[in-house]
Symmetry: C2
Subunit: 171 residues, 2 copies
């Protein structure tokens, strides 16, 4: 199935000059959504992991189905102020400014292996910040998996030697 | 499985006097997450629906697994300014202020039957606003399903004669 045909280019979003990769046509098409999830789960099954963490909010879309398929728990990584319990925080540079992400301090047991999931990787800043949260909570990031990699932004370099997997890539 | 034991009360969040129902312990426990999703899917299977819509951002956690289990597409209902394409908007009163939700204008075909999913229903304001978005896009809401209903806030009344299903209820 050609999943690229379900990704829509939206010019000038969220600001002039940016071409946004809109995944909603893929989400809204049952067979395309199933195929995308199957491919993400297929890769995740090859990993030795204890939990799946997803990054708010589009990482939630893919992280929970992967966790459920593997029978694992899911950890939400959220923007500042959204999680109700005690959190660790990491501030980082975005493509369009700065942001802070949080994770509950009790989300992980020491040494647990985590698969990080998001819908899309651009410069990798969000993924690196989420990795630091996993490490701050005592865990280890086993792999960073996304649906779409904007390869031309070279986010993989920011991940250092961490494993990375994407379903779709734009050079 | 007693899923209530995986819901944590957090007092004074997001503001003094509110006791927040924190679902993260349930999400983070693999068997509890699986059981919750299984119960939500079991109910959804009884419905004649064409698509599943989930409300940002915790509705994404449950909406996509339900859609995927049924082989259906998923529609994200998002806060203002997040969706990149043309949208309909509905402004509504929240328990703690006001908010605006949006849906892409091309998310539905005329007459499609939609299951609305969120993590929690309080006064029902968000669910009613999302219902209006479905109707504005030409769809019909078949049922409103959540993990947690704060029954003492009587959100069901706000839904009128719409079908409603919850896994957990607090009287």
């Amino acid at each position: 199935m050609d999943l690229y045909s379900y990704i829509r280019d939206v010019p000038d979003f969220p600001k002039p000059g940016i071409v946004f990769k809109d995944i909603t046509p893929l989400l809204e098409h049952g067979p395309a959504l199933k195929d995308a999830l199957d491919r993400m789960v297929e890769d995740a099954r090859t990993l030795e992991i204890d939990k799946v963490a997803g990054i708010e909010s589009r990482g939630f879309l893919f992280g929970v189905p992967i966790a459920a398929a593997l029978g694992l728990g899911f950890i939400p990584v959220r923007k500042a102020g959204k999680l109700p319990f005690h959190t660790n925080q990491v501030e980082y540079a975005l493509e369009y400014g700065t942001a802070t992400v949080e994770m509950h301090i009790d989300a992980l047991q020491k040494g647990e292996r985590v698969l990080l999931v998001d819908d899309l990787m651009a410069t990798g800043g969000t993924m690196v910040a989420a990795s630091r949260l996993v490490e701050a909570a005592g865990g280890v990031v086993t792999s960073c998996n996304v649906l779409v990699d904007l390869s031309f932004l070279n986010g993989r370099k920011a991940l250092g030697n961490k494993r990375f997997h994407t379903v779709l890539a734009y050079d």
